[in-house]
Symmetry: C2
Subunit: 200 residues, 2 copies
């Protein structure tokens, strides 16, 4: 069995990683390359989803034009930090994900588990695209990037701007880049093991 | 800025990690200690959630009695692998998560963003507990454990058995332990970058 990763890796992924947010000062002025974004996806795509359904669709918003379009959908408190971030990832959930199951889960007819069943489609798309967004956050951290996830935006407006003519619905956003440590406040508390967990 | 983790770490987290499932042979007969479960939670709890709301509640099902209770809620295809797994994590979403916001997000009245707003509670609890389940999968892998996430079970029955008298609803399950490499089938394909992503 594999050993635990070393402390430096656990610190980078979890213990010392922070959410960068709150103002334009949250992000350093350092670009993120296409190649870096592709590397993040190549790791994140490996994470498990139900029946390997892989419903997440990612738009990496980086150009000034796309950032300006995104701005129109953002809650006011998220504008400054998002305009300053080198990249903002729109994590979308494809509600026609099941059309790709013959490719992704070829050994059985998994398409029929979903087609024509809106509530199963909805919960499966939402749950699994969210998981994939979580994998993307940790993949980005593993590759030396910082993240600032957000959910304050007008989903209908964002979908019209970025996903028109598709069955993709926006789920949440992740600012991506190199965070500015000087912008950080003290870390918020977390629930202790016994507040959030039990062993049965 | 931090460098990328080394290849061995990226392999363990993403590239070589596999989902263990399909039969009782998926899991090696090696127990997982309380201390190991606590270490997994201590990492996973650090992952970001919206307004630090931390809605996930985790039940680590390990005793024969609790496993037998869990069995009654499982889809038949998930029974063997789950009974054989050293631990099964029930990832629950607390729909009264906002009652802990004065503790978790003390610098403003975030409780009022949610109290009395069932659809915001529902989507926030579901999204963020799912993210935390994803962090738990990667924390377990980072600490040398293997995972087998699942969503085939009777949620109402499981909730009655494990979350009676609370506002926690089951979200998904994760078998946890040391996977048996001999049980693995070839890896399923994933979507290529250009099938799932675009840079705007």
């Amino acid at each position: 069995m594999p050993p635990a990763l070393d402390d430096a890796a656990l610190d980078q992924l979890f213990r010392n990683a922070r959410t960068y947010r709150g103002s334009a000062q949250a992000w350093l002025d350092q670009p993120v390359s296409d190649e870096h974004l592709r590397q993040v996806y190549e790791l994140a795509k490996r994470g498990p989803t139900s029946a390997n359904c892989c419903p997440a669709r990612f738009v990496f918003v980086r150009s000034p034009e796309a950032k300006a379009l995104l701005r129109e959908s953002l809650d006011s408190g998220n504008v400054e930090q998002t305009m300053a971030a080198p990249v903002t990832v729109i994590v979308g959930s494809d509600h026609e994900f099941y059309e790709k199951l013959p490719q992704l889960f070829p050994h059985t007819d998994a398409r029929s588990w979903f087609a024509g069943k809106p509530s199963v489609i909805e919960s499966t798309a939402f749950r699994n695209a969210t998981l994939q967004g979580g994998y993307l956050i940790l993949a980005a951290r593993a590759l030396g990037l910082d993240c600032g996830p957000m959910s304050g935006f007008d989903g209908a407006r964002l979908d019209a701007a970025f996903f028109a003519g598709t069955a993709v619905k926006s789920n949440f956003l992740i600012n991506l880049g190199h965070g500015n440590p000087a912008s950080l406040s003290p870390r918020s508390p977390r629930l202790a093991f016994d507040e959030a967990c039990r062993i049965a």
